[in-house]
Amino acid sequence: MLGLYVPGNSLVHRAPAGLKLALLAVGLLALGLWPSAAGLLAALAVLVLLTAVSRVGARAVLGQLRPVLPVLALIGLVQLWLSGWRSAGTVTGTLAAGVAAAGLVTLTTRTQDLLDAVVRATGPLRVVGVDPERLALLLALTVRSIPVVAELAAEVRQARVARGAQRSVRAFAVPLLIRTVRHADRLGEALAARGVDD
């Protein structure tokens, strides 16, 4: 959801965000509950087909796997040790297919459409006091804040190196925390200025 949307007009792009999220959830649930090599192969076939239809490119979809590769490798090794190569292949393949499928949804859906789908899906929760718009805003702010905090962390890391304290955890954590809280404070003020609480 980090603004990875690739503009397009394919059938996958035009499909409602709610439908895409629902199919993703059902697919992941099915693969999780009934793991099998045949199910995995079928899921991969569907994923390849949808990627081709979407025209976002296989590289973009596979790129979503890059950040989780170390975790997948670790899980694969543990599974190999505990349950053998067949189980290791099925489990890591299922996880990789799930991440890639979620990536395809992200690449073909505007964040606003995803948030609108969240608002609709959580609408019934109003009766128990949940505010769907606020929930969607919370998700949007989370997505928006990840690169901001990453940038703050990079600045703090550079400042730490410049001052010769590259090994100090405290010289990293304390200023990062302070800057993050200050950013949150400013963000709150900006939200008020943009009428969020009105």
Binding site: G3, Y5, R110, Q112, R144, P147, A190, A193, G195
Partner: protein
């Protein structure tokens, strides 16, 4: 629009940041200058109810910022120094659309208004880009677009060009100068105030000079010189 500050004082804890400010602001272009910590940003924040006075009253177009905060904010847009703190949505178009959410427009009309706003600020080609990949200048233009798309009557800017390079600062200043709306701008860039109707100098929580840019900036320079 007429903005009235009547006996306004404000303190953050034990620190008094504004003291007995009485002002009527109705000129199209008003600048506010002063040293860091002088109270000028607090004064600006009072104009759309982000900060409420500890004592006294602020009225914007006849509306009290304390009791009619929502109505005041619909009429007053605020541009912050750091656009990163102002941009709340992940992509450029979505952030501008966020400003229009209260109008509950049909999707096609919403997209059309966003497209017009982005085109006005030369951001149309960045419409689907993640905000964190924009340059500082582009982020400030986006922040401006997100404020102006709601067509506020008054635009308050708190050092909008401080974090920008010279070229982007000039670009943002030119856009602000060309607005049809009333503008109140806090700035350290004194040359940006040429052509303004009125400049206020804030020093230790008080307005110590108030007049044309030549008069007020002359008094401000004298203050700086007196400090050595």
């Amino acid at each position: 629009m007429r903005v009235e500050l009547d006996g306004v004082s404000h303190a953050f804890g034990p620190r008094q940041v504004l003291s007995d400010v009485d002002l009527v602001l109705d000129e199209p272009r008003i600048g506010i200058v002063g040293a860091n910590g002088s109270g000028k940003s607090t004064l600006a924040r009072m104009l759309n109810g982000l900060v409420l006075p500890s004592r006294g009253r602020v009225r914007v177009g006849g509306l009290d910022t304390a009791s009619d905060a929502a109505a005041v904010r619909r009429r007053v847009g605020f541009v912050f120094t750091d656009p990163d703190a102002q941009i709340v949505m992940p992509t450029v178009a979505e952030d501008v659309a966020f400003s229009l959410r209260r109008r509950r427009l049909p999707r096609a009309e919403l997209d059309a208004q966003v497209a017009v706003a982005l085109d006005r600020f030369g951001l149309a080609h960045l419409s689907d880009q993640p905000c964190h990949r924009l340059s500082g200048g582009e982020k400030q233009l986006l922040a401006l677009a997100a404020v102006l798309v709601t067509d506020p009557e008054l635009v308050v800017c708190d050092e909008p060009t401080t974090l920008l390079d010279a070229r982007n600062a000039r670009r943002v200043s030119a856009i602000l100068a060309g607005l049809s709306q009333q503008v109140v701008m806090v700035t350290h860039q004194l040359d940006a105030l040429a052509g303004f109707d009125r400049v206020l100098v804030v020093e230790r929580g008080r307005v110590v000079a108030d007049g044309s840019p030549a008069e007020a900036l002359g008094a401000y320079r004298a203050l700086i010189d007196a400090d050595g």
